[in-house]
């Protein structure tokens, strides 16, 4: 606490009182009002029964694990078996998010490397601009555009058939190609910039030194660039993974009829089901599983939480 006070005093000294007060307020509002409070409200909801408004605060309004039990075991009528459907969807969602993350990583690494170490001046700025501008188009519009692009009479099918690559329209939407493409595209910037930042700060001489000492190009990347860029890879992957797992619009619009995204179940509970406590519990489960998974991956790849902030 005294450390905090000393820090604050030092900060006031350096930046003046108004700036310090503004920053203090902004951080407090950010942390409490926008981050902590809503999450706590959700957490609170998730431990309650779904009661009509008239009974809220009444004797039946007690804490319960019912909503979580439902996620794991399903309705009581089911007979106490695992709730295979919802758990399955959760797993599928996680797997898909991992896949999207890997796709983005595979696409972004070479681009970020080129941007950082080959593209000079105007060419580099142009590349960055080309990456950013498409994101001025809003997410829904982009998702629908992808749907048209990949549709039975979409540009890709028409072109493929015109070139004779395939004869009948391929159902890209049904096969989830459109979904993966759309999601990969949606969060690509969140992968590219951390990667670019990390790689850009790597001393070019290190790459040349490795080459000079006999390393092949692949070895240079594997042994020098990637270990160096690991914090950037971790932070980009974490963001893409989290946002993909939590995406709603793209799965809704681009997902095949058989493919359910876990967020869609959450949405259904909140909206169609009108069951906010259950929706909250599902959302909390998603959050917890995602955080757990990210932590596990960071353990496996030996990245510290602090490194991600860089």
């Amino acid at each position: 606490m005294s450390g905090l006070r000393a820090f604050f005093a030092g900060f006031v000294d350096r930046n003046g009182l108004p700036v310090a007060i503004y920053l203090g307020l902004a951080v407090t509002i950010w942390v409490f009002l926008l981050v902590a409070l809503p999450q706590l409200a959700m957490l609170d909801f998730s431990f309650r029964h779904n009661l009509p408004p008239s009974k809220m605060g009444g004797p039946e309004d007690v804490y319960t694990l019912e909503q979580y039990r439902y996620f794991f075991l399903g309705s009581e009528i089911g007979g106490g078996d695992w709730n295979a459907l919802d758990i399955g969807v959760l797993f599928k969602t996680l797997l898909a998010a991992v896949a999207v993350t890997l796709i983005d990583l595979a696409i972004c690494y070479p681009v970020a490397y080129l941007l950082a170490h080959s593209a000079r001046g105007a060419a580099g700025r142009l590349m960055v601009l080309a990456l950013i501008v498409p994101f001025w188009v809003n997410e829904i519009l982009r998702a629908f555009a992808f749907r048209i692009l990949f549709g039975a009479t979409g540009v890709i099918n028409e072109a493929g058939m015109a070139m004779g690559l395939w004869s009948a329209p391929i159902d890209f939407v049904g096969e989830d190609v459109a979904l993966y493409a759309g999601l990969s595209y949606a969060y690509i910037l969140l992968m590219i910039f951390p990667l670019y930042n990390a790689i850009e700060s790597l001393d070019r001489n290190q790459i040349e030194a490795a080459r000079d000492m006999g390393a092949s190009r692949i070895q240079v990347h594997w042994k020098v660039v990637i270990p160096y860029a690991k914090p950037g890879i971790a932070s980009g992957s974490t963001m893409v993974f989290m946002l993909t797992a939590g995406a709603l619009a793209a799965p809704q619009i681009l997902g095949g009829p058989s493919n359910l995204w876990f967020t869609q179940i959450v949405y259904q509970w909140f909206n169609d089901g009108g069951n906010w406590p259950r929706g909250s519990a599902y959302a909390i489960v998603l959050l917890a599983v995602c955080i757990g998974f990210v932590m596990l991956m960071m353990r496996v790849f030996r990245v510290s939480i602090g490194a991600i902030g860089r």
Partner: protein, 379 residues
């Protein structure tokens, strides 16, 4: 081990800018060879050509008689030590040194053994598990050398490797580098803008200016028999006097340097011998070659002491003498005063004069040289 490196009219052009201009020389296997020149003269570019990071736009580089065109840096018998060392900060000292072996698929045990041997060579035994950031500047330097030696190159290329160190350490590392070179018997190609480094360590030095190689020779030749005005003014301190050749006989040229009387300078060989009577020229007299003398001694001329810089063992006197300065041609007229520097040993009892004194100074004809006029090194 004894692979010669031949640069055959190597040029490098970046757009319109010529960074290296027709470098033509042979470096013998086992030699400690330095490229010396001011910053921006193309030294690094030339070194990058030898190491394979840069393809010459013209000319050919041969190592051991083999044309290096199209051969990548990882396939050449060279190892480059970068100006900033480029050690891998995420690897331990031993892993850094063993990196060249690792990428060649050498097994862990052999790698470790070789790293230990090299650590011993650079006097860092037992420090293999340290992180790079835990080493001092001089130790990092030595690790970079060990890592380069692990490649088992025939030629070690060093790009101003000592420039980041402080003066004391730099002088210590000079001796150490030279000792390591003797011990491993490799060819060292060394780049520096520091003439002290180049002169003390090298078997031979190539002096460069604006992408051109001005002169190649051992330290003495470059210092005592400069072949261009640039070399004369860049290597060591020198007084430059512009003037005109009056005549030449018996290897001695008589020059009009705007002094009260003509002076005689030895031009037995070198470019000075080709200066015909009437030609414009530059004469160079080293501060230590300039001596106080009697007014009627040969090559004597009057001067006024303006300033004294006392340096312990030596003292430097800044003198003023009338005549055209080094930059202005003879056309600038004879009256402009110019400054000359004279260095005296501190126990010079005959020269007990200070600022303001009007004295006579002179030099022996063979302690000066006459060269065609040319660009001087900027101070």
């Amino acid at each position: 081990m004894t692979k010669d490196i031949t640069l055959d009219y190597v040029s490098v052009q970046f757009g319109d800018y010529v960074a290296v201009d027709g470098a033509h020389l042979t470096i013998q296997g086992g030699e400690f060879f330095s490229f010396l020149g001011p910053s921006g003269c193309g030294k690094t570019t030339l070194l990058r050509c030898i190491s394979g990071f840069q393809e010459p736009t013209a000319g050919q580089i041969r190592i051991g008689g083999k044309d290096m065109r199209g051969i990548g840096p990882n396939k050449r018998p060279t190892a480059l030590i970068f100006q900033n060392l480029a050690l891998f900060p995420l690897m331990s000292v031993a892993d850094n040194i063993a990196f060249p072996l690792e990428v060649r698929g050498v097994d862990r045990k052999t790698r470790r053994r070789r790293a230990d041997e090299l650590l011993e060579l650079i006097a860092l035994s037992g420090q293999g598990d340290k992180r790079i950031s835990e080493l001092s500047g001089g130790q990092k330097q030595r690790v970079a050398i060990a890592r380069a030696l692990a490649v088992e190159p025939d030629i070690l290329l060093l790009d101003e490797p000592l420039s980041a160190l402080d003066l004391k350490l730099r002088q210590h590392m000079r001796r150490e580098l030279r000792a390591i070179q003797k011990q491993v018997g490799l060819t060292f190609i060394y780049i520096t803008h520091d003439q002290g480094e180049a002169l003390t360590m090298s078997d031979r030095v190539a002096v460069m200016s604006r992408g051109r190689i001005e002169q190649v020779g051992d330290a003495r030749a470059v210092y005592d028999q400069p072949r261009t005005a640039f070399v004369a003014s860049f290597v060591g301190e020198n007084n430059a006097l512009t003037g005109r050749v009056l005549g030449r006989e018996n290897g001695l040229s008589t020059l009009d340097l705007g002094l009260p009387a003509p002076v005689r300078v030895a031009t037995a060989s070198g470019p000075g011998a080709k200066l015909a009577p009437g030609a414009e020229c530059m004469a160079f007299v080293r501060p230590e070659a300039l001596r106080p003398c009697a007014p009627d001694a040969p090559n004597a001329f009057p001067a006024t002491v303006i300033r004294e810089e006392f340096e312990g063992a030596q003292r430097h006197l800044v003198l003023e003498t009338p005549g055209p300065g080094p930059a202005a041609g003879p056309a600038a007229g004879p009256a402009a005063p110019r400054e000359l520097r004279m260095t005296l040993v501190n126990d010079d009892r005959d020269a007990a004069f200070g600022p303001g004194a009007a004295i006579s100074v002179g030099f022996a004809p063979d302690m000066a040289c006459a060269l065609p006029p040319g660009e001087l090194a900027s101070a």
